[in-house]
Each structure stands twice: as C-alpha cells, then as structure tokens.
Symmetry: C2
Subunit: 173 residues, 2 copies
C-alpha cells in the first residue's frame, strides 16, 4: 500500500541523509520526497511517499521515530488528509501544436508559463490522479523535455491531528 | 548566493542518500529539496536549493556529477528559469477569523481546501517571494499549526537547456 508520511525533522546538517539512509539500509525506495522550512527555523517538514505493507511501514516509522533528528512522524494515509502536487512540464511542439496545449491547459486549469517557438512550459497543481493524467495527456501533444514534480505535499484534514509518534509538543498537522 | 539545482538521478535504492550525503559530508545544509518520478521510469528528478559562494557550489556540482547515480546536473540559477513552490497551510482561527482567511485567499489566489470549526486549510502555488509573503500574512490572521511546503520546483526558460554537467544524452530542461 502507498503511504504518505509527514516528518518534522531538526534543521541540522546531515539530518535528511540520516533519515533517507534508514530507508535505503532496509532496501526501501522512496517514491517521492520533499523537505522545506516551516515557521519554526529549527525544524523542517518532510512529506515522503513510500510503498509497503502497513505492518512494514509502521515498523519503519517506529525506527524513524528513534532518530535523534526526528521530532515527529505522522502517517497521513492512516486518516483523512489532503495531498496535492505541483508539476512543471516542458513540451517540444510540432508546428501548430500550441492549440492542443491551450485546450489541455483549459481542461486541467493549468497555467502556461512560457511559449517559446516550438517549446512550451506549463504548470499545474492538483490531486495525485490529476497530475498523472495531465502528464499523460501532455505527452500525447508533444515531446516531454522536462517533467519536474514536487512530490506529494500532505496535511491532515480538519482539526490538528495528534501525531503517530512524537517526543515533542510540536504537531505535524 | 542561493542556487536552485536540478539533478537527474538514477531511480535506485540509496541514490538520494548518496547524493544528500555528499552535501552533509561537506557541511552544507540543504534549504529545500524535492524528488519525484519523471516520464522515464529509470530516472527521478531532484530540485534542491542550497546557499554558498558560486565557486563553492560549482565545486559541489562537479563532485555530484561524479556520483554513479547522477545522470545530469543543471544549476538553474546560472540562466533564465522558472521556479514555483506549493504550500499547504493549516491555521487555527479565533471566532470570526474566517473573514480574514477569505480576504487573504482572494488576494493571493489561494484555494481554501477545508474550513472546519476554528481551523482552516489553504493551498497556494506561487513564486518564491509570494509564498513567503503568504505564510507571513497568514500567521497574522491565525496560529499556524502546519506549514507544508514543496520546496522550489525549477525548469529552465525557453528552449531545452544543455546541462552544466552530463554524461548522458538526457536533459534536465
């Protein structure tokens, strides 16, 4: 099963490497990951997506929680949550191909960032299935020369959720 | 100086850890990073943001290019490029605070995902300065209980750019 996991990580040199190392040591490939600052300068927030049995992922999360850099872990997929992803695509177009791009952008609510001669850059933020469908349809209009995806960004739905594992008062929401 | 670097990375267990390990070994903290699949199943695309002198970052990139997992590196900040970021915020609101959220969302073109009682989830995709300003203004309306940012997603502007370092025909766009 696919799991989207939020981790609050101490903003220290090497913290991300120690965290991803725990996955690779156990033979897990991370499907997507993003890490960026929060409003607390000492803490970064990670969203990572990984596939495995619920049992195996729970074990992994328990191991992660023991890392000194990990403040808090919450497996978003265990409860109601929002997931969104940003993608920027670059398409090489044949002559006349731009009409197809306009129609695609309109249908998905995507934004055209750049339309150089025979090349076009488009941005979309959406749910998981939408992003996959958008990339698939774009690849039928032109040749994808760049596919830059943010990976899933996730927060729990509704009131602030208590974390799955925590040794700190801070919450991952 | 701030550098946004795109890396095409072999989609192998441990590749991300080997890459981030190179930064931490040299004492560099990564400001933000995202990694996700591309249209080529064997290759993932990373956008990472790091600060350092132009000379030091060029040295780091040359080291990165020697890693067996690295297909291609392009320092986007060396030329014209697009950078966008996605953020999902969760705000705790005092009674009557929702009017401020509506006004904020309208001004920034943000999307309200959820407005539970006294809590609100908002999503915005924008340029770097916009995202920072949005988070700052949101923090004045309510209490931030979650700040989930994707980190910068970057592609070069215009026609496909040749990479800074490459040992492969694939381009990072």
């Amino acid at each position: 099963m696919r799991h989207a996991i939020s981790v609050l990580l101490q903003n220290e040199v090497g913290a991300l490497t120690r965290m991803t190392g725990l996955f690779s040591t156990r033979g897990y490939n991370i499907d997507s990951l993003n890490v960026a600052p929060t409003n607390d300068p000492s803490v970064s927030r990670v969203t990572l997506v990984i596939s495995g049995s619920d049992w195996a992922i729970a074990q992994l999360n328990a191991q992660l929680a023991k890392l000194v850099d990990v403040v808090n872990i919450h497996d978003m997929t265990l409860g109601p949550h929002f997931e969104r992803e940003l993608v920027i695509l670059k398409l090489k177009l044949a002559t006349g191909g731009f009409a197809g791009v306009l129609s695609l952008a309109k249908r998905f609510g995507a934004e055209i960032l750049d339309d150089a001669q025979n090349s076009c850059t488009i941005q979309l933020t959406g749910k998981l299935g939408e992003i996959d469908a958008f990339i698939e349809e774009a690849s039928q209009i032109g040749t994808l020369s760049a596919v830059a995806r943010s990976g899933s960004v996730a927060v729990s739905r509704g009131e602030v959720a208590l974390s799955t594992y925590s040794r700190d008062h801070r919450l991952t929401g």
